[in-house]
Subunit: 255 residues, 2 copies
């Protein structure tokens, strides 16, 4: 049966869940578009609801064989859609929850990106993607860092948000863990000494601060070293995701 009314209770419910704040309250994520949906499905996320237009029923059969899809008319789908050119494919999945413990490898070759108050979803997503590409153990985000299941973050991760552990921890919890695991802690700081790659060793956690303000004084002072990426040009600083990527890349050479 194709739903043709915006007033259908199922449609009303999905429309509500397209708002991130509403979905979050229920521990759910609304995803739209074939790429985003297929990335989540192929990584085994639990599907709560599948929403397609009539011409995408075959997509639902292929990618979500166990779930009866909600079939909407193109008109109704476009009304709830969050995109300019709706592809007629959306899913609601359970929020996987942020890994509760900071993971560690058996061989001690751990690299952690610790993000304190990163606010730009594109930066957070790009860092999660980079961390997955360079083989980092986890991305740790402070309580004030933006929601990793925000639509823009998920898009920017290109699927990596489903693959690499993302852990939300206070700075206290981080420093406790790193002290116990004898993990070196590097504050990325414009007043730091220039990164000499010979000095790097694992396990290592590097701390990246807010886009405008950098790391807090407190966090910087608790790290074992303040380092900066050598910049031979004129600009005084780098985008947060770029800084994270360069140090992440250098550390990945030790894996």
């Amino acid at each position: 049966m194709i739903i043709t009314s915006r007033d259908n209770p199922n449609v009303k419910r999905i429309a509500k869940l397209t708002k991130r704040s509403e979905a979050k309250k229920e521990g759910l994520i609304y995803l739209e578009g074939t790429r985003l949906c297929e990335e989540a499905l192929s990584s085994g996320q639990k599907t709560e609801e599948v929403i397609v237009t009539e011409d995408k029923i075959s997509w639902a059969k292929e990618f979500t064989p166990g779930t009866e899809p909600l079939v909407l008319s193109k008109d109704v789908f476009s009304k709830i859609s969050q995109t300019v050119n709706p592809q007629g494919v959306a899913i609601v999945i359970e929020e996987p929850g942020l890994a509760s413990d900071i993971p560690a490898k058996d061989d001690g070759k751990d690299i952690y990106a610790v993000l304190e108050n990163i606010q730009d979803p594109g930066n957070l997503g790009t860092i999660i993607r980079m961390a997955d590409a360079f083989g980092l153990t986890a991305v740790i985000i402070s309580p004030s860092t933006c929601d990793p299941f925000n639509d823009k973050v998920i898009r920017a991760t290109m699927g990596s948000v489903w693959h690499i552990p993302v852990v939300r921890k206070t700075m206290d919890e981080c420093f406790d863990f790193f002290a116990r695991s004898k993990t070196e802690t590097l504050a990325m700081h414009l007043k730091g000494t220039e990164l000499g790659t010979g000095e790097l060793k694992l396990p290592c956690a590097f701390f990246i601060g807010n886009e405008g303000d950098g790391l807090t004084e407190e966090t910087s002072s608790r790290c074992s070293k303040l380092v900066k990426i050598p910049m031979k040009g004129k600009a005084e600083s780098l985008n947060a995701a770029v800084a994270a990527s360069v140090i992440g890349y250098e550390l990945s050479k030790l894996l």
Copy 2:
């Protein structure tokens, strides 16, 4: 005199110029907010118009002493403003024009980022900022790459768009110049060989392709080498600005 009407011809003209497509036709750029305006002014961009609210007249006196500002009521300013919380400060400057020739240093230690069809303004801005930080000679953009004077690009460059040469050239013009200047040409390509830093030499141009499609076959095949950034993790690719930053950083070690 404080302008209190949206129908004032000067206000109408500024409102029109807030649309990038309209400003571009006249070779102008509309910038808003203290940071963005001050970055452009301190780099010596030619000011066509200064627009402030009454409480920001002192700002205009300090930063644009030679130009009589257009003073608007807060209400009128907020109507033309492109931001959620207007700061009451805007300028219209002349578009500096893209450097017409590809520049080169006397010592031959040139690094060029060549961008083929980069579409995301955040990526383009982040690459321009990185290039300025790492001391690259220029950023070269293909005819299809997005407008570097787009508001989002300018914001992401954090002022670097006014400092490092950005040159728009066809791929033919690039390869002609690089052949003449004996510049190595590296295609950043997922099928390339892993970047061995020992192999890098200057002058060098690295080519980065479109976010979704990568470099065109034609451009890749014209480069002297296809290289990829070693990724020891699971994600198969990197964000375009991250890939550009890692190779830019490695090359900057040779400066």
